[in-house]
Amino acid sequence: MIHLESNFVQFKEELLPKEGNKALLTFPFLHIYWTECCDTEVYKATVKDDLTKWQNVLKAHSSVDWLIVIVENDAKKKNKTNILPRTSIVDKIRNDFCNKQSDRCVVLSDPLKDSSRTQESWNAFLTKLRTLLLMSFTKNLGKFEDDMRTLREKRTEPGWSFCEYFMVQEELAFVFEMLQQFEDALVQYDELDALFSQYVVNFGAGDGANWLTFFCQPVKSWNGLILRKPIDMEKRESIQRREATLLDLRSYLFSRQCTLLLFLQRPWEVAQRALELLHNCVQELKLLEVSVPPGALDCWVFLSCLEVLQRIEGCCDRAQIDSNIAHTVGLWSYATEKLKSLGYLCGLVSEKGPNSEDLNRTVDLLAGLGAERPETANTAQSPYKKLKEALSSVEAFEKHYLDLSHATIEMYTSIGRIRSAKFVGKDLAEFYMRKKAPQKAEIYLQGALKNYLAEGWALPITHTRKQLAECQKHLGQIENYLQTSSLLASDHHLTEEERKHFCQEILDFASQPSDNPGHKIVLPMQSFAQLRDLHFDPSNAVVHVGGVLCIEITMYSQMPVPVHVEQIVVNVHFSIEKNSYRKTAEWLTKHKTSNGIVNFPPETAPFPVSQNSLPALELYEMFERSPSDNSLNTTGIICRNVHMLLRRQESSSSLEMPSGVALEEGAHVLRCSPVTLEPGANQITFRTQAKEPGTYTLRQLCASVGSVWFVLPHIYPIVQYDVYSQEPQLHVEPLADSLLAGIPQKVKFTVTTGHYTIKNGDSLQLSNAEAMLILCQAESRAMVYSNTREQSSDAALRIQSSDKVTSISLPVAPAYHVIEFELEVLSLPSAPALGGESDMLGMAESHRKHKDKQKTGHCMVTTDHKVSIDCPWSIYSTVIALTFSVPFRTTHALLSSGTRKYVQVCVQNLSELDFQLSDSYLVDTSDSTGLQLVPLNTQSQQPIYSKQSVFFVWELKWTEEPPPSLHCRFSVGFSPASEEQLSISLKPYTYEFKVENFFTLYNVKAEIFPPSGMEYCRTGSLCSLEVLITRLSDLLEVDKDEALTESDEHFSTKLMYEVVDNSSNWAVCGKSCGVISMPVAARATHRVHMEVMPLFAGYLPLPDVRLFKYLPHHSAHSSQLDADSWIENDSLSVDKHGDDQPDSSSLKSRGSVHSACSSEHKGLPMPRLQALPAGQVFNSSSGTQVLVIPSQDDHVLEVSVT
């Protein structure tokens, strides 16, 4: 949509554009000739001439855009229409002038009438007018643009003037603006802007244009941008006159751009362009080396900024402005900056106010502003008024500057540009400092510093701290000032001199005599010095009560000069140990195997704070052991720096708040004084004597310089040392796994002195146990160790023995040492109980023996010896039990051969040692006459190896009737085989036992005969078994028992025989047992026949024949059982004396026994059976075998392969 506005002007020849016309707005686009003539005469006489003349003038000016309008009036027409109907005036004119362009002539009929014809003619006229006007406009505009371009192309020619060209292009812009084509208009200005900028740049590069030198004239006026008028004609004229300065041109250009942008509803672009323009202008003036009075540009920029802002505010509502602060805040900030520099320039910031020179400068600056422009004269807050007021007095300046600054900070903050806000705040702080108002400056400095610290910008931190230090000094915040000073003194971004200065500040303060003695200034230590590492001596950080502990720390001094520190104190937290386990000796050795060096992580502040705000997790394994038996109760992972990780984030930002540092006053303190801390690493050693037992945790490290205390509030990681006290202890343990009785054994005595000091003459009093000897050796030595197992000395041990007490005098040893020595002890073998195994003879015994072996294995018999020891440190005796094992086990057996008797003794070595046996004796303790023990052992010395047995055999011979029992003692000397020589003679090993009923009474002989007519026994065929029981002696003492019956001077006894085949070789047919009455007389014989059937072929051993004493019923024995139960349970009754493990094959034969027995004793109380002692029966056929050949008709051949 194009909007074209046109003016109707009366034609004058002067108004016609001449050649080279540059004005477009006043350009006559269409020439219209109006005539009312309707009379041909009149036309011919005057109008035609006039028209011709007009046409000629137009032609002369080469204007082809014209229109002839003939206004017809009906009234007039009526008179003349009939005269010349065909040749009307219109036609004539058309003929005369519009021979080719018939459309250039329009008739307007009765313009004042209200008829359709009139309407029609008006429409036709207006359409024509519009078309022609636009045609002309387009043509001329195109021509104008062409001309303009041509002109621009000539810019390299000498004499080309920018101002001239400016006017031409601006004309175009105006036209576009007039057409409401603001975008196009803006483009024209932007082109001009760019062209000018390019010239300036080229000029800077040495390619100067003549016309530009004009713009380089010194700046005399700096009255800022004027944006309130659409066209600043004043400036435009000056450009036209080529009198404009650079600032004028720029101002004018921008004002036009601004107007157009506002038309385009783009106020924020105005703000943005304004900032660019202002920066650009400053740069251009610099580049063109235009002389500018100091402050002039600042004024110009300040005014311009405010003008732009006010212009924008004027065309936008509040909400719009608020939401677009991001665009305008730059201008605010720029204005603030400029006002500040003006203030400094004009001495308005200094404490004293401006001096005369400053005032002169101010006057000059104000002069350059000129008079206020009329359009703002009525505005109270105009930029002009503001600047004038601000420069007028110190107070007014302060007010304006603060207003601006606060507004800027607020805006920056509101859009989240915190850093920019802080930066402006710092300027403000600087201003306050100049105004000697440090209390106001502090908050801004703190704010900025916090920001820089949080983001770890070292240089800004240093700079801001320096400002803050000055501020705090003025404020008299001694503590804060000293803290900041200490930080600055350790700051490597400062020069050495500056650091020394700040360090000196601290030292000066510290050396001042304090008016308030005892008052301490507490500062954090980090900036002063850093704890690098810590070293314990002893390295396990465990020391006994009274012991000396050294702690060596490395402190890295950050100060640039050596600092004399009165004292360095470590506050120690003491906690009483609760865990009794920790007192034990083993804890000492297990505890803390580290090398005793604790390294402290280097302080990473101030560089990247944001990084170390969250420290790394410090995870540790945790084992909690039961205090009683040291078994593991719980285990887990603990995070040791939870307090660091979980603290609130806000508090981490308050990095420089000294409030967090508090001096801990503890009872336990490590002190070191005086110390001079050189710059860099320093070694400081603390020495302490341990007093109370417990755990000591190093908490705080303080260094005092005068009244200034540098405190490290927490020593982290946690450093502890332990002090323990120990009760004296005596520990006795065998050197070997177990002690063996009978030979000398070594026992180790360990005396842990604990807190007790062994004095000369202190001794251990051992009350002697009866059967244990303490062997005193001449060369026994005691070793004395320190608690850390370092050997300190050794001394000979003096042992004095009396019959009751052995006294061992201990070597002199200090507290917390260990004395170790060894003693030899000998446990005397005690005689085992007499006859303990007397009834385990013969077969029954061997059977038992076998079972015994299985059950007890190789367990040695042990004897305990208790020794009570009186220790010098205690009134109570310590009782120590020593267990000795007897290395041997002995068994005996009685062997018979007919009536000859042998005693066999088996010695079994259960220990791990080899022994040498010698001098074996077997003696009859009862000393029976006529009894002789003849040894059959050939060697007197015999080795017995570990886990092996040795047998000894004696033949028993007698001349008189032997006693029913025999008490024997076996003794054998033994000594360890490995030992060459023993200092003492060892007691022999003895074994006492009793042998009973060793005299043979009966001889049992069994024989098997093949069936009659056969040579050999065959399987499956019955053979006859003949058992011959022969009495070998007359009545003896041992026969006198219940079974003995007497009749006619003859004695007889009842025996029961039983044939049992345990190996299932034979099937006993018929009765397998029977009771016989045996006369008690020598050579009395009883013969029994039985049928047996061999089940297998081969050499078969004979079935066993057992002989029992058949005792008649004894009321005492059977009263428990009544007759009924006997009948029912008779198999049980037989089993009682039968075999424990009956074999299935013998069941049949045994069944017959049952029946025999039960039939015989039916209704009678049950008689008893008593096995005859092994020594009384001799089986003369034991071991004999009978050849059985397989039966011929045996189709089954059983082959067993083993």
Binding site: V201, G204, L275, E276, H279, V282, Q283, K286, L287, A326, G330, Y412, I415, G416, R417, I418, R419, S420, F423, Y452, E455, G456, W457, A458, L459, P460, H463, F607, P608, V609, S610, Q611
Partner: protein
């Protein structure tokens, strides 16, 4: 060309900052620090755009009377800030872009060094030389 070149970590602490030795270093530190405001603003405005289509070059952050501050942000939010003298009109956007690209490549090389701990100050000599070469062309 440039008067100050800074590499700033994701957490906004400087990894590397160098300025022409002739000028006040502190001024540039302040300037670069303040420019982070604009970087943040631009990044958050860009956050809506798709990540892979994101333009790393942030353009002119803010002009001052004497300097122009340009910004560039890597995908890992490491910022490069370059301060250029305003009077140096020869430097166009394209040159600045290519300088940033060079800087980014060199920074990538630094990061590839297995002995470099990400987050530490950059002390690479190669990087330093590259920065020097970008600054030396001023004079």
């Amino acid at each position: 060309m440039a008067v100050c070149i800074a590499v700033i970590a994701k957490e906004n602490y400087p990894l590397y900052i160098r300025s022409t030795p002739t000028e006040n270093e502190l001024k540039f530190h302040y300037m670069v620090h303040t420019s982070l405001d604009m970087v943040d603003e631009k990044i958050s405005a860009m956050g809506k755009a798709l990540v892979d289509q994101r333009e790393l070059y942030l353009g002119l952050l803010y002009p001052t009377e004497d300097y122009k501050v340009y910004g560039y942000v890597t995908n890992s939010k490491v910022k490069f800030v370059m301060v250029v003298d305003s009077s140096n009109t020869a430097l166009r956007d394209n040159e600045i872009r290519s300088m940033f690209r060079k800087l980014h490549n060199s920074y990538t090389d630094v990061m590839c060094n297995p002995f470099y701990n990400p987050g530490d100050r950059i002390q690479s000599r190669a990087f330093d030389n590259m920065v020097t070469s970008m600054m030396i062309q001023v004079c």
